[in-house]
């Protein structure tokens, strides 16, 4: 884990204080709190901006399309951010960052829900027959919808209770997020008409983040 390591470094910094261990813990706690606040702000700021634009009629000629695109963008971005937490921690040794992984993941789910609701309410206005047809017959919607469905059990089991109850199975279950990420990028790729730069950039970032999950050392050892 390396937690002890960090604690030692922190206490070294604070060695002149009377109770170095406690102070280090407090600092860490404060850091995590600041980090969480930052995630809340980052996760909600785009929504505030979108609402502000909606209220000032600044969403352009096709507001529903604009809301659909922006909620889709932020779904992917925040999902990638959630997937970046573990690599970031491994590269930098910044262990506190792991404490906001769940929050980032939940914000990703929050944006996917907004994106999905935009489609159901604003775009299709509960036209269930059209929605079912879309999900069954339009591959890009099938991909996006599947990603959304895959994220539901992850959001549900994100609580401490579920983590305890599921034990090692929890880790295995939450690997579904990789599939959701891939489906999200494919969803985007399949709806673009000619210019697929944006989905390819998302795809490239996703592949880099997924590459961190491959146990390269073990694979090399085997050959």
């Amino acid at each position: 884990m390396g937690v002890g390591e960090t604690a030692m470094t922190s206490s070294a910094v604070h060695e002149r204080t009377a109770r170095p261990a406690v102070t280090a813990a407090t600092t860490r706690k404060r850091q995590v709190r600041a980090l969480k606040l930052a995630v809340w702000v980052a996760g909600l700021a785009p929504l505030a901006w979108l609402l502000f634009r909606a209220l000032t009629d600044d969403l352009g000629a096709n507001p529903i399309e604009e809301i659909t695109h922006r909620t889709g963008d932020w779904s992917l971005r925040i999902l990638l951010a959630a997937l970046a937490v573990t690599p970031l921690r491994r590269i930098t040794g910044w262990n506190q960052v792991i404490q906001v992984r769940r929050l980032v993941g939940l914000f990703a789910f929050f944006w996917v829900c907004l994106h999905f609701l935009t489609y159901i309410v604003l775009d299709q206005f509960f036209g269930w027959s059209y929605i079912v047809e879309d999900v069954m017959e339009r591959p890009y919607i099938t991909a996006g919808f599947t990603a959304f469905v895959l994220l539901i059990p992850l959001a549900v089991t994100s609580t401490k209770g579920w983590i305890r109850r599921l034990g090692r199975r929890w880790t295995r279950l939450h690997k579904l997020v990789y599939a959701a990420g891939l489906l999200g990028v494919i969803h985007y790729l399949w709806i673009t008409r000619a210019d697929d730069r944006a989905p390819l950039v998302y795809g490239a970032i996703l592949l880099v983040l997924l590459a961190f999950r491959v146990p390269w050392r073990r694979l090399r050892g085997r050959s």
């Binding site: 909606a54 009629d57 507001p63 299709q124 036209g127 059209y130 709806i191 000619a194």
Partner: protein
């Protein structure tokens, strides 16, 4: 407006207007999701749009089906004109400095009076008129636009195509310096479109020089563009520099890019879906609910005979 319809579409087939909610109501709808604070914003925003002087002459104008015009601001800020970028706002953003004078249009191919025509010489003999057409994009949104221009047929008669001229091919300007979108191979530049001779000669087919009573804004395809209202929007080539009369069916740019998704004819047809999305309904810009798409974009009486006996699912 210009076209008289012998038998209008029965009112039973037109979705009641009340079903379509205006932009104002859309914003109010968003307000419902967010809170009451939205209402003043929405009202203010709506007022801002109606006051544009450019729209005053067209205040009560509708198309022949009674549909309201799409506001000037939307017509000129939401464009697919990939030469200036693939975003809908890109053309309005990047076409401002585009030079549309001097402008030369090459008339070439199987024609008795070929040549390089200066735009003013090309336009001079023709009477420019206003025509209100629906525009249906292949992406399933639509507008109602008061174009200004003249029948392409009048120009074609003037330049006298020969018997070998079976199709007309249109080319957009190629100038990556002015058109930033052409610096990347999104499509095989320059943009090419084409019509069968009878489609080109059809009285609905317009060479447009303006909209809302003004010259064409650059982002809408200045100084000269095609408007073929019963076909998806991409058939209407913009900023035309060449009109060529040819014997073989041209390969239009979108067909070249993806033949499975885009054909030569590209007639608006709610029965034939795009491989990736439905063409059965469309969102009229400014409305909340999608509305059903009409066969040939509502011009079936005028153009249906051009395609009699053709399998429109195969010739899409």
């Amino acid at each position: 407006m210009l076209m008289k319809k012998p038998d209008p579409i029965p009112s039973s087939e037109i979705t009641p207007h009340a079903l379509y909610v205006s932009r104002r109501k859309f914003l109010a709808g968003v307000a419902g999701l967010v809170g009451a604070a939205a209402v003043p914003g929405a009202v203010w925003a709506h007022g801002r749009r109606d006051g544009l002087p450019v729209q005053q002459a067209f205040q009560d104008a509708t198309d022949e089906l009674g549909d309201e015009l799409t506001p000037w601001e939307d017509v000129t800020s939401y464009n697919n004109f990939y030469e200036f970028g693939t975003g809908k706002e890109d053309p309005a953003r990047y076409a401002g400095e585009f030079r549309t004078r001097p402008w030369t249009v090459k008339i070439e191919g199987h024609v008795n009076k070929p040549g390089d025509y200066a735009l003013d010489d090309l336009l001079r003999p023709h009477t420019i008129e206003d025509r209100i057409y629906r525009l249906r994009c292949v992406e399933a949104w639509s507008m109602v636009i008061p174009w200004r221009g003249f029948a392409l047929a009048d120009l074609i008669k003037r330049v006298e195509p020969t018997g070998s001229a079976k199709y007309v091919e249109f080319r957009t300007l190629l100038d990556p310096e002015q058109m930033p979108g052409q610096r990347r191979p999104i499509l095989d530049w320059p943009y090419v479109e084409g019509l069968r001779m009878d489609e080109a000669m059809h009285p609905l087919t317009l060479l447009a020089t303006g909209l809302y009573g003004r010259d064409l804004p650059n982002q809408n395809g200045a100084p000269l563009r095609l408007v073929v209202p019963w076909k998806y929007g991409f058939k209407s080539a913009k900023s035309i520099v060449s009109i060529r009369f040819v014997e073989e069916q041209p390969i239009n740019s979108w067909q070249a890019a993806n033949a499975r998704e885009y054909g030569f004819y590209s007639n608006v047809n709610p029965e034939v879906d795009h491989p990736r999305w439905s063409q059965g309904r469309e969102r009229r810009i400014g409305e909340f609910r999608r509305r059903p798409t009409l066969m040939f974009n509502g011009y079936a009486d005028e153009v249906g005979h051009l395609y009699a006996g053709m399998d429109l699912a195969k010739r899409y």
